[in-house]
């Protein structure tokens, strides 16, 4: 496909003395959907946080449209068109749904378009329209997740970094959200970088996948190829789990270690 929109070179990030990202390099092409898989604590969220400037990398480069953006203040990075929908909702709890959505459009000034987008979000998630004056902190977990995604959409991003968008959503909504993401990608050409525990649906949506383990990328390839890999099958898709682990509760070793 086209030229890389986002390119990460040899990134390292620390929490104090703890090294959470240990030299990650990856590429996201324009219009592509890239998914990052990985076990707990692999550093997926840290990777996204480093891209969006919430954390400063120790080493390495984040190139957006070829220009380095690492270490910039997070709001500058948003201005480039990078939107991060964080893990764990992070809504503004004491503001109403409407106000939360307005803040999504903070960087924009095209009033009419903003209202159109607001209607679009309400269209996607009718419950939000119904509760538009409810304080976001009192929404149910899933409703907050919808709000977080909707708020991200209000920013009209070039690239969306989505950290577990399906967290706490009902199966029906998970399907709907992924359908929305696909539509955004095909219709509005929004590039996406997706971190998901629900690997099946993520690989289904994505063009390219990366697998992270303890701060490193241990595997990458097209989504189809990954889907075929045995490791992926057993650890992320939970395929033959039933048969293999069955009553024995024995774990297969990952081959990439």
């Amino acid at each position: 496909m086209g030229e890389p929109l986002l390119e990460i070179k040899n990134l390292e990030s620390f929490y104090g003395p703890i090294m959470a990202i240990r030299g990650v390099s990856l590429k996201v092409d324009k219009g592509q959907i890239v998914t990052v898989l990985g076990a707990n604590g692999a550093g997926k969220s840290t990777l996204l946080k480093t891209i969006s400037g919430i954390m400063d990398p120790e080493k390495g480069e984040v190139l957006f449209n070829g220009k380095p953006i690492q270490g910039q203040e997070p709001h500058r990075i948003v201005e480039h068109g990078i939107v991060h929908v964080p893990e764990g909702r992070e809504v503004f709890p004491l503001l109403t749904i409407d106000e939360n959505l307005s803040l999504g459009a903070y960087t924009r000034s095209d009033k009419a378009e903003i209202e159109r987008d607001r209607e679009m979000v309400f269209d996607y998630f009718p419950i939000l329209a119904e509760r538009r004056n409810q304080e976001a902190g009192t929404l149910s977990g899933g409703q907050q997740q919808m709000l977080a995604i909707g708020r991200g959409l209000m920013l009209r991003p070039q690239i969306m970094l989505l950290d577990e968008p399906s967290l706490g959503l009902s199966p029906l909504l998970v399907q709907e959200i992924f359908a929305i993401l696909r539509r955004l990608n095909t219709e509005e050409h929004v590039t996406m970088m997706l971190v998901e525990q629900n690997a099946r649906i993520a690989l289904d949506l994505a063009d390219v996948g990366y697998v992270m383990e303890i701060g490193r990328i241990v595997m990458d390839g097209s989504a189809d190829r990954l889907m075929e890999s045995d490791d992926i099958k057993s650890f992320y898709l939970g395929h033959q789990e039933e048969g293999q682990r069955g009553e024995k509760r024995w774990k297969r070793k990952k081959t990439w270690r």
């Binding site: 076990a39 707990n40 509760r131 959503l169 009902s170 029906l172 909504l173 690997a199 939970g238 789990e241």
Partner: protein, 255 residues
Amino acid sequence: MSLLEIKNATLKFGGVVAVNDLSFSVEEGEVYAIVGPNGAGKSTAFNLISRFYEPFAGTFTFAGNNLLEREADQVADLGIARTFQNIELFEHATVLQNLLVGRHRHRKTTLLEEMFFTPRVRREEERHREAVEEVIDFLDLQPYRNKMIAGLPYGVRKVVELGRALASKPRLLLLDEPASGLSVEETQDMRWWIDDIRKQMGITVLMVEHDMGLVSGVSDRVLALADGAKLAEGTPAEVQANPAVIEAYLGAGAV
């Protein structure tokens, strides 16, 4: 008699009816799952049981005790422990300390004894430690024992929260979305744990979960909620096959 019996529970927030004339009961020794669309009132039902909210109407009986006569902190004394959907751990404490707080309801020593750290306090402490170590072994938390919660990844926190609830040796365990945010592999673990909690520890489990794989894998009975009211109840297979449930919750391409 059922272990937990809820009859005609109703709770409104302003105009929103979060729980609407809901009745269900959980039998001793079973795993009972609640599913339902987002905002159906599942967490609210948990909060009612935990006495965080005062119901508008309804009766709540746990092992013959009227829950409405208890304060929120006394619920734990009855033997009900819970986890939270959004994870509520003690951030500035280690995993070990978090689990030890789970033992709070078994505390026997007085303030004065603790100030002087009498031998009795020491013995009690060792007992608590033993109980907690069992939980740590059970949940494979050894590598994190002395880590601060603030630095743990989401998945581990979920497990620690489960551990904290287990450490209190409850009769009824309320799990609010135990598997959300866990990978397939970890969800598998969760499934075995829930199984063992029920079978080996003899703890009754009431859980809210969106992962239908897990729900059908471990639960004996499932309750489907919508708009705070009962939509369907039955075995996992029955509920999953219920057209109303598919329509409101599972969606056409259900996994």
